[in-house]
């Protein structure tokens, strides 16, 4: 027996230091994984890559199993047997389709939803339910958290966003409903707290019971307040109160889950202090937290908006002082394209590091965390200069518990809606859906 709760003193380590993953045995809450004792649960994640890529440097050479990564995807070589580079996917709803400018807003908004984002600077924003939320609502209640939304855009742009589209479309990735985006959490410390709670305060059982009862009374009370308020409001305002009511219901569900699944604080993990100043470190910590969340089975569904489409971040550390978005309109200028390739490579390298970590994390049944995951990494724009939304850069990583055919370069013969692939992924996760956005069927070649 060891003291298992971290005290303030022993838990504080350096800023954003890469988290040490705890050994798995200490993590499994007893009795919890009984149902899944045979196979590891399936995890899914979606990670975003903004502003398109330099396609010729992205695409591998060779075909099928004999694919060879180019410079941009070189870092994937270490996990080559666990990934599929997929090309030929499209997002038609990210095109203007009569709405004029705004490809960046649309690219982010459609990536997980496949719907045409309503062009509005404010009133009545509307996209669609995202694939991760379809899974989350169907598979709800199996883990402490139904899903997790991560991001690294610490500062949102002021003023107006892309061409008359509300900033909500660019800075959110998951959509719980067509009108309710789920904001990504960008502070590693707050992500940690969301996953594992604030450290133990030495609360005894009686005070905990009282506190939980108080929380439930509070929820009942605000439910009544909201309903009575709603009666006196107009239509649009009633919809706002509906958001509030849904939020209450979600929290009630979550409290139930929390009682069913105790938060399993990692034994030797360190609690992040806040947002690292270095961008690379920030992204790395987020990937670490995602791995930790999956490994501790705190959640099985996550999205990570690494950077919003249209991001104009500069990368002086890799020799690119210009803004990403600005560069992405390269107009076939070689110097610009070379710099862009470096940025593409930067993002891929961090992703590869994440996959490696998953690969090296063992599950009780002997497989690795990567084997039981299905992770989509890609962007809603193909070539940043053309702003096209087909031929999208996509990597599908993980074995999906044997349901994905890994280790190859998969080229769709005809352009395929990305939403078709999502339906197939949902099937594998046990969260069937008939349609998603502009889907026309499934893409079961994966």
């Amino acid at each position: 027996m060891r003291f298992s709760t971290l005290s303030r003193r022993t838990a504080l380590r350096g800023l954003g230091a890469s988290l040490a993953l705890p050994t798995l045995d200490a993590m499994i809450p007893t009795g919890l994984r009984a149902a899944d004792a045979v196979a590891s649960p399936l995890r899914m994640a979606y990670v975003y890559l903004p502003n398109g890529v330099i396609i010729p440097k992205w695409n591998p050479t060779g075909e099928g199993k004999n694919w060879k990564p180019g410079k941009t995807l070189q870092s994937l070589e270490k996990v080559r047997n666990h990934v599929q580079v997929v090309s030929g996917l499209k997002q038609e709803k990210a095109q203007a389709n009569g709405d004029g400018g705004g490809d960046h807003a649309r690219a982010t908004a459609t990536f997980l939803t496949g719907t045409q984002a309503r062009k509005t600077a404010g009133a009545d924003i509307q996209a669609g339910i995202s694939v991760d939320q379809i899974a989350a609502s169907q598979l709800s209640g199996q883990t402490r958290l139904d899903s997790l939304q991560l991001g690294c855009d610490t500062v949102r742009k002021a003023g107006s966003c892309d061409s008359g589209y509300s900033c909500a479309y660019q800075f959110n990735f998951s959509w719980k409903s067509p009108t309710l985006p789920l904001a990504p959490e960008v502070n590693p410390r707050l992500v940690f707290e969301k996953l594992f709670g604030v450290e133990g305060t030495g609360e005894d059982v009686k005070s905990r019971e009282l506190r939980m009862r108080h929380e439930r009374s509070l929820l009942d009370y605000v439910l009544d307040d909201a309903k009575s308020m709603q009666k006196k409001l107009g239509y649009t305002d009633r919809l706002k109160i509906d958001e509030y009511l849904s939020a209450i219901r979600e929290l009630e569900k979550k409290i139930e889950s929390a009682e069913k699944f105790q938060a399993s604080l990692p034994d030797s993990g360190s609690r992040p202090e806040g947002i690292p100043a270095d961008y690379r470190e920030h992204i790395a910590v987020m990937y670490d937290l995602l791995a930790l969340a999956f490994q501790t089975d705190t959640t099985r569904i996550a999205t990570f908006l690494v950077a919003h489409d249209g991001s104009n971040r500069s990368f002086p550390d890799i020799g690119v002082p210009e803004g990403h978005h600005h560069l992405s309109h390269h107009r076939r200028d070689q110097a610009k394209m070379d710099k862009l390739q470096k940025i593409d490579q930067f993002y891929v390298e961090l992703f590869s590091g994440f996959l490696e970590k998953l690969k090296n994390t063992k599950e009780p049944d002997g497989s690795s965390l990567l084997d039981s995951s299905m992770i989509v990494f890609g962007g809603g724009i193909g070539d940043g200069d053309r702003h096209n939304h087909d031929d999208l850069p996509v990597i599908l990583a993980g074995g999906g518990n044997g349901k994905l055919r890994t280790g190859r370069y998969l080229k769709a013969k005809e352009p395929v809606p990305m939403t078709n692939m999502y339906l197939s992924l949902l099937d594998k996760a046990g969260a069937k859906a008939d349609r998603l956005g502009d889907s026309t069927g499934r893409f079961d070649l994966i």
Binding site: M1, G101, V155, A168, F171, E215, V222, M229, G234, E243
Partner: protein
């Protein structure tokens, strides 16, 4: 140019444009002053049909092909377009014949009356969707409710923005995650303010890594197979009694278990018989008094080593001791600390002598009234007091009961949302004055970004707020909070100053760039805007002014002499510097956020001015244009080119010129300012050509003349645009076509008030959209 002159010019320019408006407003709405056939169509035919009629459809705009007059009138989008272009003098293009100002007025008035069907007697005030408090507002509100400076909303996700602002009702959503945060934040906030239980003892855990001293084999694992000792160093966080627990196990030697002696330096010593096997180590505890700031060693020794290899029972041959960990917990039994200032303030909401039941009701009612920004009825109060009652029934203290009720108040939608109740909320024809409490709330969040204070609430309760509105506005604007909130939240977003955080100028290109300079730039513009608010200066000074705020570093950067020290001071601009600088467009902050990391962007700067100053942003670029790379033009015939020369291609192609002719010249006029706003006479050794002309024809050369053009010819557009932005910010919704008369009215009143800031604020507060609301039409759609 001094303010007097500014005002004169501005007034002159606006008056001319205003004459027609003033005249038309007097005419009752039932009579239409202008008719399509005799007044409007001839203007269209003469100036517009060349491109937009008689078979022509430039830009997809056709003015004469509707099947019926009814259809023509119903095409609101078309007429919004015409309106926008007529009013902004964007159409006809500068090189074509121009209709007179009277013609433009006719068009605008006719559209408002006949197409938009706007009735000056019965304005459509629109409606604002239920707004939840955004992060800034939440922080300010709880700070003011409790008298603290705590900022719990910093942990909430950033708010989505629309129409350029993050306080737009339609856009502010409430996700399950945010709701959970509200719950947590309110609980933690109240726990911090009203401490109702003794502080929990701190727990300090020591593991193997912390052990010092020697085990049998000279390592620190806490395993001792022979007489040895190991220790940990404890730094007590406070004076008091502590519980010290050692997790230990052992193995037997002969019939006896190991004895562990635990000594606290300058404290007690205890001996324990560790009579459990190491695999199931147990806790051995005792208490000791420790003092803050006096670190003590706690040493554990194994004092009865034993080894008999010949013992019959192998489990009794070797007596050893294992120490797995040490935990120090305390101080125990601390008293409940005395109440904080904020805590006392809450309790003082009711007189002390009252019996408990009444006292609790009074406290909670007073607080709820402030928090919900309106009086609380009996039923509501009873339900909130249910939490007090529950806590008391469970054996909790009076203060705990109050705390529970207050938390309920803070998570209720009545707190989180700014509701504006009206009768017949679903009837779009029903127009109501917002009640006094809603008015107080709108006013307070507009000017101070926080909840209405005691005085505003008192006026609302007495029903005298509307009567004393002017006085209250004066009071609020005089308070420093107004300048602070409006600068940070209104100017910060309207002028996109918040983007300065994101700016990343390349250090190699701009070695002067630094974090300090960034902060300085921001402070200059913030202090400048704050001055306009506090001193009620004419808003035209934003376009050009003979003063600014500088500290030594920024002054050096600008080349302004005789400014010393880190502190910011108001500085007059004279001589050469005055030629260069004056007004927002020459502030380094704005010049930096409109640049790229390695160079200026004439297009961005032009776009910024068109969008944020003049309200006439160009449409987005066409989708299928083949645009050659900028840097390809960097050298022509082997010679280096300036940015302007590189952008020549914008003029060569007509499809590009139509929009770039609007943006680029403004940027060229500012090319003397490099990518971080420093003055330069040359660009990479090449002379600069800073001449140009606005789309509407006015020409200039250099920033001084550009500013003069703004002041002489563009004040109308500037004031109208600023009014539009301010109305948007104050209402929390974007402006629609039916707001146009209100926006113009605000602009007119501002002009009549010498363009002073307070005049604009008052005009906004007195406008129809601010004072009234109508029912929702959405249910019918």
């Amino acid at each position: 140019m001094d303010s007097q002159r500014l005002i004169q010019i501005g007034l002159g320019a606006v008056t001319l444009a205003c004459i027609a408006i003033a005249v038309s407003r007097v005419i009752p709405s039932s009579e239409s002053r202008y008719s399509y056939e005799s007044d409007i169509e001839p203007v269209l035919a003469q100036y517009c049909y060349d491109c937009h009629g008689e078979g022509m459809d430039k830009g997809g705009i056709v003015l004469d092909e509707h099947l019926s007059p009814a259809e023509l009138m119903a095409d609101r989008r078309l007429w919004e377009n015409v309106y926008h272009n007529m009013e902004g003098h964007l159409m006809p293009p500068g090189d074509k014949a121009q209709p007179s100002d009277e013609d433009r007025e006719k068009m605008v008035t006719w559209i408002e009356g006949e197409v938009f069907k706007l009735d000056a007697e019965n304005p459509d005030p629109g409606r604002v969707t239920l707004r939840r408090l955004n992060r800034e507002e939440y922080n300010n509100t709880v700070s003011d409710l409790f008298g603290t400076r705590l900022t719990p909303a910093d942990g909430f996700a950033e708010d989505d923005s629309g129409y350029g602002f993050d306080n737009i009702g339609d856009v502010l959503s409430l996700s399950p995650d945010l709701f959970e945060r509200y719950l947590k934040a309110s609980g933690e906030l109240l726990d911090t303010i009203m401490v109702t239980r003794a502080p929990l003892p701190e727990v300090i855990d020591f593991t193997e890594d912390d052990f010092r001293g020697v085990g049998r084999f000279g390592d620190r694992t806490g395993a001792m197979s022979s007489t040895a000792a190991t220790r940990v160093k404890v730094s007590p966080p406070a004076d008091g009694e502590y519980k010290i627990t050692v997790l230990a196990g052992g193995s037997q030697g002969a019939e006896f278990w190991p004895i562990m002696r635990v000594e606290v330096e300058k404290g007690p010593t205890k001996e324990f018989t560790v009579n459990v096997p190491a695999a199931s180590a147990a806790e051995f505890s005792f208490k000791a008094s420790l003092k803050k700031g006096q670190p003590r060693n706690v040493q554990m020794s194994f004092i009865n080593d034993f080894y008999d290899p010949k013992n019959k029972d192998p489990n009794k041959r070797d007596r050893n001791l294992w120490i797995n960990g040490v935990r120090v917990k305390g101080p125990l039994d601390q008293p409940v600390p005395p109440p904080t200032e904020a805590h006392r303030r809450i309790l003082s909401l009711a007189p002390e002598g009252l019996p408990e039941k009444e006292r609790s009701a009074k406290i909670v009612e007073s607080f709820a009234e402030k928090a919900w920004r309106r009086p609380v009825n009996e039923e509501e109060l009873k339900r909130v007091l249910g939490f007090y009652k529950q806590a008391r029934d469970d054996g909790g203290s009076f203060d705990l009961g109050i705390k529970r009720s207050l938390q309920a108040v803070l998570v209720s939608p009545k707190f989180l949302f700014r509701g504006e109740m009206q009768a017949s909320p679903d009837n779009p024809e029903a127009v109501h004055e917002i009640d006094e409490f809603a008015l107080a709330t709108r006013l307070s969040y507009f000017l101070w970004s926080t909840t209405p204070d005691g005085e505003l609430l008192a006026e609302a309760k007495a029903g005298t707020l509307r009567k004393n509105l002017d006085g209250q506005i004066n009071r609020m604007l005089a308070h420093p909070r107004a300048a602070e909130a409006l600068t940070k939240n209104f100017a910060g977003q309207w002028l996109q100053l918040r983007n300065l955080r994101l700016a990343a100028p390349d250090k190699k290109t701009f070695p002067q760039w630094s974090g300090d300079l960034r902060n300085d730039m921001l402070e200059e513009t913030e202090k400048f805007f704050a001055t306009i608010v506090q001193e009620n200066r004419p808003v035209l000074e934003l376009l050009d002014a003979d003063y600014t705020w500088l500290n030594e570093r920024l002054a050096k950067f600008y080349g302004v002499p005789d400014v010393k020290g880190e502190k910011f001071q108001r500085v007059s601009l004279n001589g050469k510097v005055r030629e260069q600088r004056g007004g927002l467009i020459t502030h380094a902050s704005i010049l930096t956020i409109t640049s790229n990391p390695t160079r200026t962007s004439a297009v961005n700067r032009g776009n910024f001015v068109l969008d944020n100053f003049l309200g006439t942003p160009p449409p987005p670029p066409p989708e299928s244009v083949d645009i050659p790379p900028l840097e390809a033009a960097a050298k022509k015939n082997g010679e280096k080119q300036t940015l302007r020369q590189q952008l020549e291609v914008h003029r060569e192609k007509k499809i590009c010129a139509s929009c770039h002719a609007r943006m680029d010249p403004i940027g060229f006029g500012l090319e003397n300012f490099d990518g971080i706003g420093a003055w330069r006479d040359l660009e990479n050794g090449l002379p600069l050509d800073t001449s140009g002309s606005l789309y509407t024809g006015e020409s200039f050369n250099g920033p001084a003349e550009l500013r003069e053009v703004f002041v002489e010819a563009k004040t109308g557009a500037f004031v109208r645009n600023m009014a539009d932005k301010m109305l948007t910010y104050s209402l929390g919704r974007g402006t629609e076509y039916y707001d146009k008369p209100a926006v113009r009215e605000i602009a007119d009143q501002t002009a009549a008030g010498e363009f002073r800031f307070h005049a604009m604020v008052k005009a906004v507060v007195n406008s129809a959209p601010f004072q009234l609301r109508r029912g929702d039409s959405a249910a019918a759609e």
